[in-house]
Symmetry: C2
Subunit: 313 residues, 2 copies
């Protein structure tokens, strides 16, 4: 399987692991890279020194390419970028911010830059900023999400009509079938979040992994749109948000309820009732916790089976 994405990152399969907060440490990233995909360390939930430690451990755990995901609104963004350069990181995925701010800095250091977008408008902006590829993330994706609410099925073809750089599909991809479907729609690769959050190597709490397995269709919802839209499992915390909405809440009340550290509480500390449980709609098909290597085998086997089905159409 060779295409623009496998060549861009020098990887075996065009499968990228989402750089999720509290989930994507060196263990997950190195396991994904060792399995032939692209592992990403999620800097969003790490202090700069923690990120540096994870990068060093990841280097020891794999000799394959891996990268770092950096939300551009990160408070100590300068320190994070300096560590990335100092540690010789060659691939950076940026998200949640303006791609103009850091792309040229990173490109000057010969770093491959990919930006995550949720709309055609931001896809064009990222391309103009000089990124090497874009992740197009649909409405069904877990965690923070775009305001246009455009789904993977419609976002990929609409972006492909407008941009020339390679497109990686995210949101709803958790199988070989979905990977092939995304490529049929025009994507050159896929970014997988929820499925990797539920692996053995994910640094999420066991309670959170068990919650992913328990999710059925309809159990997640995009909410808190007045702050920043985020897709969550419907737990007690979610019900409290809904209660506020029913009483004509204000932005400030929502902020107060959210408070600080809700995602850590739910995903990392395993407080399933009071935490912010960020996961995608496709969690409804995830029914077991496997090691990353086994996940890759299932995806690739299914991808090939469905390819054979297409031959017979």
């Amino acid at each position: 399987m060779k295409n623009s994405i496998t060549e861009l990152f020098n990887i075996q399969y065009p499968i990228i692991q989402g750089g999720m907060v509290w989930v994507s440490g060196w263990k997950l990233a190195s396991a994904v890279s060792n399995a032939g995909g692209l592992g990403l360390i999620g800097a969003g939930s790490m202090h700069p020194s923690t990120l540096q430690e994870h990068i060093k451990k990841c280097k020891n755990a794999t000799n394959k390419p891996f990268g770092v995901n950096v939300p551009l609104l990160y408070p100590e963004i300068d320190k994070i970028m300096q560590i990335i350069v100092d540690e010789g990181i060659k691939i950076v995925f940026t998200s949640a911010g303006n791609p103009n701010t850091w792309t040229s800095f990173l490109k000057k250091k010969s770093i491959t830059v990919v930006h995550v977008v949720s709309s055609v408008k931001f896809a064009l902006k990222a391309e103009k900023a000089g990124v090497d590829a874009i992740v197009c993330e649909g409405f069904e994706a877990g965690g923070h999400n775009g305001r246009e609410e455009t789904t993977t099925f419609t976002l990929i073809p609409m972006v492909k009509k407008e941009v020339k750089i390679p497109v990686i599909a995210a949101g709803g991809v958790a199988s070989g079938k979905a990977m092939l479907a995304a490529m049929v729609l025009g994507a050159e690769g896929v970014q997988i979040g929820s499925l990797f959050a539920a692996t053995i190597e994910s640094s999420a709490h066991q309670n959170f992994k068990d919650s992913i397995i328990a999710v059925k269709e309809g159990d997640t919802k995009l909410t808190l749109k007045e702050l920043a839209p985020v897709r969550l499992i419907k737990n007690s915390f979610y019900n409290q948000i809904e209660q506020l909405y029913q009483n004509n809440t204000s932005k400030q009340e929502l902020k107060n309820l959210l408070g600080k550290g809700r995602a850590k509480k739910g995903i990392f500390e395993g407080d399933i009732e009071n935490g912010e449980l960020e996961i995608g709609q496709i969690a409804g098909v995830i029914d077991k916790i496997l090691p990353v290597k086994a996940v890759f085998k299932e995806i690739i086997d299914e991808f090939n089976t469905v390819k054979a089905f297409v031959y017979r159409l």
Copy 2:
């Protein structure tokens, strides 16, 4: 192209035209059936006598199979069902209501019944009610839509895991690529709405067709969730809804603003500013108004081109 859906309806391609209000009269339905798909007359916007007239005209215009789409909450539903039986209609798509109410009545008259669902829960309910197939409609679809907000990309695999009857994918399908992607995800057929709404044979007003062509990514939104969720083009009417939301509106105020006949006003009478313009997200890729026959040629040609691309993966 032979599969469970082409056999169920005795059609050439597993392409079904959505039975849309104010759009899907005998002209559109017969054109789709003559092109090798399944045309549906949309009863939702017709008085019983109008429906009967459209059925008679459709019979004169095609000797291929066609059907009728019936929203089950229709006020004169008994009259509609009697006309369907009297006119010897062999295929009925039901939507917006409980599949238990009419399925066995229709099945006893040897009518093939398909029910439209937007969640796994309703898919299972429809299967239990004895329907022959289900349409699974994702969040990106135009017009009325499910409360779970599950997207086509995730709904299809989640439903396929649970039901045995054939699945038709709807929401976001407007090309041969999307058709193949839906089949890769597990659908046996596709239902296409927005693209057929913009054809020459659609009974929509020219202004509405021009609006579909003008839609870009991000120009539609699912709204009026307190009444019945509906996806609309963001026009003046939509902006008035948003204004009410920003002032902590009530359900009654929304009802008052909506009033009666907004969809007719926009879609059929061409009042683009004050009408309810029901269209799907994928309108962003639709850029010309073609006859149905040309639309079929484009879909099938692209479907085969993308199949050939998959062979090379």
